[in-house]
């Protein structure tokens, strides 16, 4: 997997091996069309979400314009039936999208990797118990559980929504990480670390995880995308935070206020299109990263 010239350089004492691996990965990543293209789209949306609300003097839910107006110079994505600025709602919705994706995906990644590492490394009873936990959470259909929670407890903020989503999206990660940990655990460098008295967490952190770093990056991207879709579904049913704008909530409002029948396409097409674009770009980035990390796929 390592460039032989870099290996030679490292052996000659020029570069520490881990650093050179990252350098090499970065080099190829920036030249991969899928990675660059996908990243560009995602960053463009992020920029939109961050910047746009700063340049307007009204809020996304303010009644500022003529009701149900199609896109125009004043209102780039038209207005809702109440005269709210759809473009501004869209930009604010993007913010929530990124926030929930980052927090929710991040939490799921953290839980999944921890459970997976510990289960794979420790084995025995710990492994059995964690496996049971993983399997139960895996089989439980997350959406309905969250519906029950939300219906009773209510979700008031995006971070809280992200917490719930993260708490249910991790099982597949745990399984995969466990499998990889199991195979890495029996390798010589881990035995060496164990013999030298390193603690378990240190071994996981310094010996095992770096070997899986590429996989972990790709997993986080998938979790991010998954969290975005999940949140959009919850928001659409009406079980998301209602004080902030979100893309799912926009679609919910649009359907509720007969946007379909009134033909107000600028209200319900952009939110879903935005989600599709962001999540799709993330998936494409992932395919590109796979090529970067697995040189065999690179030679096209």
């Amino acid at each position: 997997m390592i460039d032989s010239t870099i290996l030679a350089e490292a052996e000659a004492g020029h570069l520490p091996l881990a650093e050179s691996k990252t350098r090499e990965a970065l080099h190829y990543a920036l030249r991969n069309r899928k990675v660059v293209g996908g990243l560009a789209v995602v960053l463009a949306f992020l920029a939109l979400g961050l910047a746009a609300p700063l340049f307007t003097d009204h809020g996304p839910n303010d009644f500022v314009g003529p009701p149900a107006a199609p896109p125009s110079g004043d209102y780039w994505l038209g207005t809702t039936t109440f005269g709210q600025d759809v473009f501004l709602q869209f930009a604010n919705g993007i913010r929530s999208t990124f926030l929930v994706g980052f927090l929710g995906g991040g939490l799921a990644a953290l839980i999944g990797m921890t459970v997976g590492f510990v289960a794979g490394y420790r084995g025995g009873l710990v492994d059995e118990l964690l496996n049971m936990l993983t399997n139960v959470v895996l089989v439980l259909p997350a959406l309905v559980v969250l519906i029950i929670f939300h219906a009773y407890v209510g979700v008031t903020s995006v971070p809280m929504q992200a917490l719930f989503i993260g708490a249910f999206s991790w099982p597949w990660v745990a399984r995969a990480v466990r499998a990889q940990t199991l195979s890495l655990r029996t390798r010589e460098f881990v035995d060496l670390a164990r013999l030298s008295g390193m603690r378990t967490t240190a071994i996981i952190r310094r010996e095992i995880a770096p070997n899986m770093s590429s996989y972990l990056v790709m997993t986080f991207i998938l979790l991010f995308g998954g969290a975005v879709l999940f949140a959009a579904t919850l928001d659409f049913i009406g079980l998301g935070p209602t004080d902030v704008v979100s893309l799912g909530l926009m679609m919910n409002s649009a359907v509720r206020w007969s946007a379909l029948h009134l033909g107000l396409w600028w209200w319900f097409v952009p939110p879903g299109a935005g989600i599709t674009a962001i999540v799709g770009s993330l998936y494409i980035m992932n395919v590109g990263l796979d090529e970067v990390f697995n040189p065999k796929l690179r030679e096209e």
Partner: protein, 331 residues
């Protein structure tokens, strides 16, 4: 074999217990007592008919009954098929409301899951070997799988339903009709079914196509494929083996995706006002019908568990390695 299924059933039983416990416990975390509030509200309008609800409530939520007894009572009632009475469709028992909606949801889920899996696998396999197909199918599949279920539903409802006027977009059948076994009614059912089905089918299809395409490419590089090629086997044979072998992880993937597809079906029903469990959930939430909500939740969990088990059985039948691994291989 018994150990394998034993373990699986144990997990499923455990999951069901967890689900039931969640169902019973969560209302307790709410500030105040919404169930009581709901009951009081309803009792104002229907004082007499409230009696069965009150009785149920007392047994599983009641203040004078100790907590553990409440829990056991909940289970006892469950096994007797009593999940309380619906508030929204008072005085229909929850189980009856649910059984009225289940056929619609199943009518959406079963065909869309099976057809999208089968078609996605076939097309994915084809894309793996024809470059031109690969270049069109792959990007399209990525877009489809990134599409939120409800958005595609909205788009289809708007474009094919309203703008083109080809299909109706609300309800399970036309409001002016009565359910009968006539061809006209069946045609009407079908017309209402098509768009939600299509929506579910397309999104799921994208995922399977991508997965299969990647798996086939991987299988074609496997040692057994290289060996067959070295022995001059025709492409046909190698592809057939690769496809068969790639189906196995796709089957596992199906079990993993069940939760996602069910979620997709629920929101799609909401978009189209299709009278299945999804619409039921929405109504339960809007009307604060907690008994109904809990009932639907348990039903869905049960359904998913049964489906998982079915897939486990199929997997064992299809993969000789699991069968033999369990019986203990000979040396």
């Amino acid at each position: 074999m018994r150990r394998y299924f034993g373990r699986k059933l144990f997990i499923y039983a455990l999951t069901f217990i967890v689900a039931v416990t969640i169902n019973w416990m969560v209302p307790r975390f709410m500030p105040g007592d919404p169930v009581l509030r709901m009951l009081t509200r309803t009792s104002v309008s229907n004082p007499d008919a409230i009696a069965p609800m009150r009785a149920y409530y007392e047994k599983v939520f009641g203040l004078d009954v100790p907590l553990w007894k409440q829990y056991l009572n909940y289970w006892a009632e469950l096994f007797q098929g009593n999940m309380g009475v619906s508030v929204w469709l008072f005085p229909t028992p929850v189980t009856d409301v649910i059984t009225g909606a289940v056929p619609y949801t199943l009518a959406l889920l079963l065909p869309s899951i099976l057809l999208s899996w089968w078609a996605g696998n076939k097309v994915g396999a084809l894309a793996a070997r024809r470059k031109w197909l690969d270049n069109s199918v792959l990007p399209a599949s990525y877009v489809l799988t990134a599409t939120p279920y409800m958005w595609l539903g909205i788009l289809l409802a708007w474009s094919l339903g309203l703008v083109a006027g080809l299909f109706p977009i609300a309800g399970g059948y036309s409001f002016d009709r009565q359910p009968t076994w006539s061809a006209a009614f069946l045609a009407d059912l079908l017309a209402h079914w098509i768009l939600p089905f299509l929506s579910l089918f397309l999104v799921a299809f994208g995922g399977w196509a991508i997965g299969m395409r990647n798996l086939i490419i991987y299988e074609l590089e496997a040692d057994y494929a290289s060996y067959l090629e070295a022995l001059g086997a025709p492409r046909r044979l190698v592809r057939r083996y690769a496809f068969r072998n790639a189906l196995l992880p796709q089957l596992t993937g199906l079990a993993l995706q069940l939760g996602v597809i069910v979620a997709g079906a629920l929101v799609t029903e909401i978009v189209f006002g299709y009278p299945g469990l999804g619409s039921l959930i929405l109504n339960a939430i809007t009307n604060q019908d907690y008994f109904l909500l809990q009932g639907v939740f348990l039903f869905i969990v049960l359904g998913v568990l049964i489906a998982n088990f079915a897939i486990d059985v199929v997997y064992v039948l299809v993969d000789p390695r699991t069968r033999i691994g369990m019986q203990g291989g000979s040396a």
